[in-house]
Each structure stands twice: as C-alpha cells, then as structure tokens.
C-alpha cells in the first residue's frame, strides 16, 4: 500500500500525461497531485520502499525533509493545476502545455521522494526538460529565445550533476542511496560541480541569466510553480548531496554564505530596477534563494548547529514557496482581469507576508532562521534583517508597479482560479498560528516599518524632485492611482450585480464624476506618479541599496 502510493506520486502525472491532449484533460490536472497530498498526510516519515528492478536499483521514501518539501510542493501543484483548469483556453495548444505541466510535476514530485542518486537525477532531468515546453509555450520569438537559453543552462546543470553523481558513485563503490554516500569525503571537484549544478537551478548570481527572460514569457501558472516549487529542487539537492558533517570542509560553507549574501543584495538591487512586476518577483526569488544559500552555507560551516539551521531553512522554504506562488497567481489574475479591489488587498497582504511583517509566516520564517543562526553566525542575523528591509522595499515597488499599470479592461474574475488563490491565501494566513504562538511572531517591526518609510519616501521624492532636477516630462498616459482605487471600490460595491455592462457603466460614471471633481489635483498626481519611467527614482533605489550594503559591511 505504502509502496503503491509512493510510486503513484510520480507515476500518476506521467500516466495522465498520455491523456492530457484531450479536451476533458484540464480536470485531470488537479487529480495528478492528489497522491502526493495523500502521501504527506497518510505516510509516516521514514516510509521507504526499495525497487531493485527500477533504473539501477531505486529507493523511494519520505523522510522528514522530504515530508516538508512534498507537503508544500503537492499543495502548490494542486492549486496551480486548479488555476489552470479554471482558466479559459487561449488559442495556443493547451493540450501540449498540460503534457509538459504533468511531466514537470512528475519530475518534481519524483525527485522529492527519491532516496537514491539516480532516481533523483531522473526526476531532476525530467523536471528541467519539461519546463522547456512550459517556457516555449506561446511560441513567440522571445519565448523561443528564452526557452533556448533556459535549456542550455539546464542541460549544463544536469551534466554537471551527472558528473558529480558518477564521481560519488565511484567513491561509494557503486552504492547509490543518499544514506550510503553520506559519509564519503567529497573532493573539491565534486563539491564545485554540485554547487554549480544546483546553483543554476537556484539562480545564483552569474548563473541566473536564464531566469528573467523565462519568467517574462511563461504563462503565469507555470511561473508560479517555477518560482515557488521547482526552484527549491536546488535546495533539496544541496541538502541531500552535501550533508553537513566531516565530509565537507568548512571553507565551502563560508563560500556559500558569501555567495548567498551576494545573491541577497543582487536580487534586491536588480529587482528594484525592474519595470515589470513579474521580473521584480523573479529577482525577489533570487534574493530569497540567497538567504537559503547562506543558511546552507552556515549549516556546512558549523555542522554542530546544522539540524536546527536545516529545520529553520525548511520553514523558510515553505513560507517562500507558498507566498511566492500566491503572489504570482494573484499577479496572473491581475494580468488577466485587471486590478480589482480584492486582488489589490490580497496582493498587498501577500506582499506584507513576503516582507516578513509581524504576525505573518514571513516573521515566523525569519525568527526561526535568526534563532538557529544567532549562536554560530551572528553576522547572518544582520544579513537577514537587511534582507527583510530589502524585501520590504521590493514589495513597496511591486505594489506601486501594480497600481500604475496601464489601465486595461476590467474583466470578471474567473471563479476557479480565484478560489484556488484565496485558498492559498488562507493557508498562508493561518500557517504561522498553527505552527507557533503569537509571541514569536511579533518581530521584524523595525525593518519592515523602516522599509515602508524608505519606500514611500523614495516614491514621493522621486516623483516630487524629478521635474526640478530633470525637467518636466510630457504628459504620460492617464496613470490614475487614486482614481483607480476609488473607481475600484465603487466597482467592488457593484460586484454583486452580475451584468458586465452594469459594471462598465458604473466605472464610466465613477470615472467622469471623479475626474470632474478633482481634476487639478489628480492631473498633478497622475503626472508625478509616473515614476516607473523616472531615472531619479531608480537612482534613489540604487542609492539606498548601496547604503544598506555599506551598513552591513561596516557592522561586520
């Protein structure tokens, strides 16, 4: 029974992929993630099944780490699948998209339950290659180029991983399970290959070039899964292949800490310069992966503190996965249906959570990580605080970018995707209270408020000073921030009325009414909130980033 369930976790998506081109197959997508969810609930940690006839002798199983990964992965794949199932079909071949989605799901879930190197590699390769189909889905020239770049990087990473696995298997005398390789001393070449191979997946700086083009062109449900779940395969790879202990010299841990710190700053600074919300979220992922990298480095450098650090890393990874996926799914809803009040509030809340506001899972994650790191690596606690500040700035810019989008037609919200998204938001809200008590969650007040202050200050300064320093700009499109919000609230009041025409009429009425009332003030604000194109604001963001960096360096 257990073994059947473990097999079904990755076998069911593969089998369903054969049916995926049919019309009804959209409802099969959520079905594919059900065995994994069942396994999280029903199977105790330590369940293992040995399949000596599969590949080169496979071991599947769920240990503590795998349980956590499987938990958030299966939930997120399920919700993303529901999102896709409820989305209207575009004219692009959605059957093919579903096939690759299911293959990626199979690979991802497969590598989580893999307990030996070859099965892990199988899942990793399957997931990496299927993502190509997701990125190239829209077949535009940009999509093709992004997919090609991604493929080249992924294949390079997989080949590095293959080399490392072969080298490890030689040292272990042919034994392939993670238990067997745990005590083998790893040569510098192996460690380097593993760091680079998984680093490509985690989008470490200098290995991240595939990420921005890919995130820009992929359909949003796939990006949500990329950023939330698939990127974490790199983390799982490090946890499996580089166990803290005597096998790895502590110098590598320090190197990872430094790389992670670099990633944090790089992600924040590059993210602040983005004009598209998707890319901003992508760079935010790079920054958060930097936090995880530093954590892994700390665990390697201080093996005695490793168990606590790894537990905290798992909490952090869970938090990030859930919130990032929710952000992307919400962003997808905005891209399709326009910015509406429930979406605005929901995304605002999620932005707070990601930044680590008190009483949210972000606070929980940060407090767990700080707690585990403070005895051994106090400098990382400072780094975490700065990361929180940086993320807050990113989220302020994110909300700003959302609000100042070019106005598109407001469409009705599709029921199923919105319910999936709301479900996720509820889980995110409730999660910290389930896991711990309120006292531990009342942290992060200072970094978050500081970030908020700085963010708003930059926005206002950037928009206010610009005309004096650079000169007045031509009137841009109507970037009606307050107008939007007021129209959106009247719009929400009318939401009970089902007719689309009524909504649009109400919008038009609100539009003209408010415009008449506050023409002068509004036009001034419209003119000056066009900061997305303002070089001065960008410079201010960069300046703040540089200041943060110097603060950090001077305190350590």
């Amino acid at each position: 029974m257990n073994s059947a369930l473990l097999l079904l976790i990755w076998l069911l998506p593969l089998l369903l992929a054969t049916l995926a081109r049919q019309q009804y197959a959209r409802w099969l997508l959520p079905l594919a993630a059900i065995p994994a969810l069942l396994a999280v609930v029903a199977l105790p940690a330590g369940t293992a099944v040995s399949l000596p006839w599969l590949l080169l002798g496979s071991e599947l199983g769920i240990d503590e780490t795998g349980r956590v990964f499987l938990g958030f992965s299966s939930l997120l794949w399920l919700l993303a699948a529901v999102y896709i199932a409820g989305s209207p079909d575009t004219n692009v071949d959605s059957g093919r998209f579903r096939v690759f989605f299911l293959f990626a799901m199979a690979g991802n879930l497969g590598l989580i339950v893999a307990q030996d190197m070859v099965s892990f590699y199988f899942g990793f390769a399957l997931m990496g290659l299927s993502a190509f189909g997701l990125i190239a889905h829209s077949l535009t020239r940009r999509a093709r180029r992004a997919a090609r770049t991604y493929l080249a990087w992924t294949i390079a990473g997989e080949l590095m991983l293959f080399t490392a696995i072969v080298l490890l298997a030689t040292s272990s005398g042919g034994a392939l399970t993670f238990d067997a390789i745990e005590d083998i001393p790893r040569s510098p070449l192996i460690i380097l290959l593993l760091i680079a191979g998984f680093g490509i997946k985690l989008a470490l700086p200098l290995l991240h070039w595939w990420l921005p083009p890919a995130y820009a062109v992929t359909p949003v449900a796939a990006v949500a899964v990329f950023s939330g779940v698939m990127i974490k395969a790199g983390l799982l790879g490090w946890l499996r292949f580089l166990p803290p202990g005597d096998t790895i010299p502590a110098g590598w841990g320090t190197l990872l800490i430094l790389i992670g710190a670099g990633a944090i700053f790089f992600g924040v600074i590059a993210g602040l310069r983005q004009q598209r919300p998707r890319l901003l979220l992508g760079y935010s992922s790079i920054s958060k992966m930097g936090v995880l990298t530093s954590g892994v480095g700390a665990a390697l450098a201080f093996p005695s503190a490793a168990p606590g650090i790894i537990t905290a890393l798992l909490i952090y990874a869970t938090h990030h996965a859930l919130v990032k996926t929710a952000l992307f799914l919400g962003l997808g809803l905005v891209e399709r249906s326009g910015l509406q009040l429930p979406l605005l509030f929901g995304l605002g809340f999620l932005a707070f959570v990601l930044a680590g506001a008190p009483l949210t899972s972000g606070a929980l994650a940060k407090s767990a990580l700080s707690g585990s790191l403070s005895p051994s690596v106090p400098v990382l606690v400072t780094l975490l605080a700065i990361s929180t500040l940086g993320t807050t700035l990113l989220m302020v810019r994110f909300m700003f970018l959302l609000s100042t989008r070019r106005r598109r037609k407001i469409m009705p919200l599709p029921a199923l995707p919105v319910s999936a998204w709301l479900c996720l938001v509820v889980v995110i809200t409730v999660l910290p209270f389930v896991l711990t008590d309120i006292d531990r969650l009342m942290i992060n007040v200072i970094p978050v408020s500081l970030g908020l202050l700085l963010g708003t200050a930059v926005l206002l300064l950037g928009s206010g000073l610009s005309p004096y320093l650079i000169g007045p700009r031509k009137r841009a499109h109507a970037r009606t921030l307050p107008l939007r919000m007021r129209a959106a609230s009247s719009h929400a009041l009318q939401a009970l009325r089902t007719s689309n025409d009524l909504r649009l009429t109400a919008w038009a009425l609100a539009d003209t009414a408010y415009k008449r009332k506050s023409a002068a003030w509004l036009t001034w604000l419209q003119h000056h909130t066009d900061t997305a194109r303002r070089p001065l604001t960008g410079a201010l963001w960069l300046g703040i980033g540089g200041w943060l960096l110097s603060v950090f360096i001077s305190t350590t």
Partner: protein, 500 residues
Amino acid sequence: MNFDAWLPLLIVASSLVPGMVIFFLKEGSHVTRTLLNLAGAGVKLILVGVMIWGVFHDHNYETRWTLAPGLDLVLRADTLSVLFVTLSTVLWLVTTVYAIGYLEHSPHRSRFFGFFSLCVSATVGLALAGNLFTFVVFYELLTLVTYPLVAHRGTPDALRGARIYLTYTLIGGALLLAGTVWLYVIAGPTAFVEGGTLSSLPTEYHPQLKVIFLLLMIGLGVKAALVPLHGWLPHAMVAPAPVSALLHAVAVVKAGAFGIVRVVYDVYGVNFTDQLGLLTGLGIAAAITIIYGSVKALSQDNLKKRLAYSTISQVSYIALGTAILGPVGTIGGIVHLVHQGIMKITLFFTAGGYAETLGIHKVSEMNGVGRRMPLTTLAFSVAALGMIGIPPIAGFISKWYLGLGAIEAGMAWWVIPVLITSSLLNAAYFLPILYRAWFCQPAPAWPAEHIPAARHETAGTLLWPPVVTAGLALAAGLFAAAPYSPLEWADLIAQREYGL
C-alpha cells in the same frame, strides 16, 4: 550428432534457407514471400530462445566443421554470442515487418528479401563464430551480401554509394584477413576464449602481435566506422530505410564493433592488450570518432545523414568501453551494443516512416510533424532523448557505466569530458529536431504525402516497429536492474571475461 551440435547451424540456416528460396520466387508472390520471411524470423526467434535457456543451464552448443587440418569452421554459443544473436534476431523480426511495409510498391522485392535474409544469416554466423577464422569468413560474406542491398534502388547515386561501400569494406576485409593469417602463423588456430589465448606467447612475438592488432583493428574499424575509416557510411545512406536500419543497428556497423570486442576480449585478452599498450590507442581513436561524428552531425540537414554521423559517434562508445580497463567499463561497452542497436533502429525506422508517409528527407521539412504523426514522433523523441543520455532511457545506463568505469580505471580525466561533450553535441543536434517536430507549425503542404492519414497516422507496418523498439529502449533503461535485462547479461559477460 546430437541437437546441441546442430543448434547453431540451425539458427544460421533459419534465415539462409528462406533467403535462398525467396530468390527464386516470382515478383508477384507477396504472400509466399511474406510467409517465408516471417516464418524464418519466427523459427529463428524460437531457436534462439532455446539456446538462451540452454546456455543458462550449461549446455554446450557447438558446431564444428573441419575444412582442413587446423582449420575449423566453428559455430559456438557463449554469453557474448548469445547477446548479439538475440539482438540480431529480435531486431530482424521487427525490421522484416517494417521492410514489408516500406517496400510495398517497390520493384525487385524478391531480390531484396533474398539478400536481406542472407545478410541476417551472415550476421548471425559471425555472432556465433567460435574462432577468428569463422568470424572472418562470415564477415566477408556480410560484405558481399550487403552490397546488393545498398545498391538496391539502382540509381546512379545508389550504385556509387554501394561502390564506395564495397571499396572500403573489401580493403578492410583484406587487412583483416592478412592479420588473421599472420596470427594463425604465429599462434595457431585462435579460438575465442574468455580472457584471450595470446598472453601465453613468448615476448619476442609482442612486436608482431602489436602490428597484427593494428591490422585487425583497421579491418574491423572500417565496418565499425572508426575515424578515418568511416567514409563509406554517409554515402551508404542511399539505401532504403530498412537497410540503413539494419546496417546501422545490427548488421554491418555492429559487426565491426562486435569484432573489436571479440578481438580485445576473447583473442588477446583485455589485460594483455593493456600490457601491450594498445588499449589507450583504441580509446583515443574511439574518443576522436565520438567527437568527430557528433560535430559533423550538427551540420547535416538530411535526416538520414545526420543519423549516420550519429551512428559513427555512438558505435564508438562500444570501442571506448572496450578500451576502458575493468569490468565496469566492459559492461558499459557491451551493454551499449544492445542499447545503441535498439535506439538507432528506432531512429531509422521513424526516418523511413517520415520519408514514406510524407516525403520528408530533411530536418528542415520536419516542422510540425509531431501533430501529423504523433506516435512515430514520440518514438523518435524517446530514442533521441536516449541518445543524449537522459534517464530513464537506455542510453543513460550505458553512459553511467562508461563514466563509472573510466573513473575506476583512472582514465576519467579524458573520458568524462568526452562523454559530457558528446552528450552536449547530441543534445545540440537532436533537440532542435524535437523542437521542430513538436512546437513548430507545419508548412502548408508536406513534400509528398504518399500515405494519407486514415485511422492511424501511417501504415501499420511502418508505425508499429518503431513504437515497439522505442518501448524496448525505454524498458531496457527503466528495468535495467531487473533480472534478464541487457545490463545483467553484460554484467555476466564481464564477470566471465575478468574471471570474477
């Protein structure tokens, strides 16, 4: 004589006799011809099954025919020959079905199937050869009976390609014969014995043995398409697809590779070859071939030519595995014999399927073919991914063992980069084809749609063989650690070779 002595001969005869009969059939007697073909293939399969069972139960199958004192024609079943015979038989059955469908309306089918059957007889004969003399006899027979197959179409191109093929292989055969004769003069009749028989010769013969090895390798390397002896292969692509499939997967190229394996393991002995310092040279030649074949494949637009260069590259993996000292490398080389055969035959079947159904001969014409012929393209994709080395398809298993073996033998510093580069190059010339097939919009009209889409995308005899072999490739990789897999077989061979 008892049954044990007849069985190897019967296996050879099971395709020889139908072949001889088919020559005399009238062109229009489709049913008889098909019946003879399939009956021969079926009988051979059963006999091979009996042989496998017998070898596992320690029967000793040997047919010996003394031509002259000291000159015996020996057909014997040991583990390596059983491996190759099984591969040949299974793939011959599938290819026969395919060829029946492929040559549906072609002329001279009796002639074709006659030589086709003779070709398989020759292959099986050299697989079962028990000494070097028998091997050379069947090797030359193979050359002679494959010439008409290459020239089948009769066009000037086909004749030219066949002439080039004949030139190369006859010269190679002459060198092989020279080496064999010289070896007989020095060492007497060289039977194939696991671990080799030549290590017992006194040291003053060693320089001669090195030269003989070189002669043998050149003679075998022509068929095995080692660089720079590979020139005939791209020209031989003018042959009909079943011929290309058989040639590349089973008969000619594999025979060359099989010969290399036999000479190194069962004539010289791998340890002795290493002592003579010849193993490294073989490895380097193999490595150069691997990279050269892949690089040339990148620039080919003709699908079959691209696959031809891919064959040149992939068959050298077998030579590379032979050159890696140690059981693990041996396993990698021998198991790749089987895996590459299955994957390559799938690729050629699908290439022929595209040509026959839609008139597609070039990669640039393959846009959107995945929608029109999904099962065929799925088979192609599975085989292509296997060639690149993606698990769980069989090619991954071979690369794994080759890599592992190289590290254990201390040769990793140049073998692993060769493997990785080859994988990258394979990806570079296979993945764009897959992208075109699955993601691109088809052109308004196919080059020449001979077979319109009916219930299935193409004729059954063109569709199911590649699907079956793709399934075999997947199974060979997925269940590699299961009992009775090719991997386990190769393991057994390696154990016997190293005396473990």
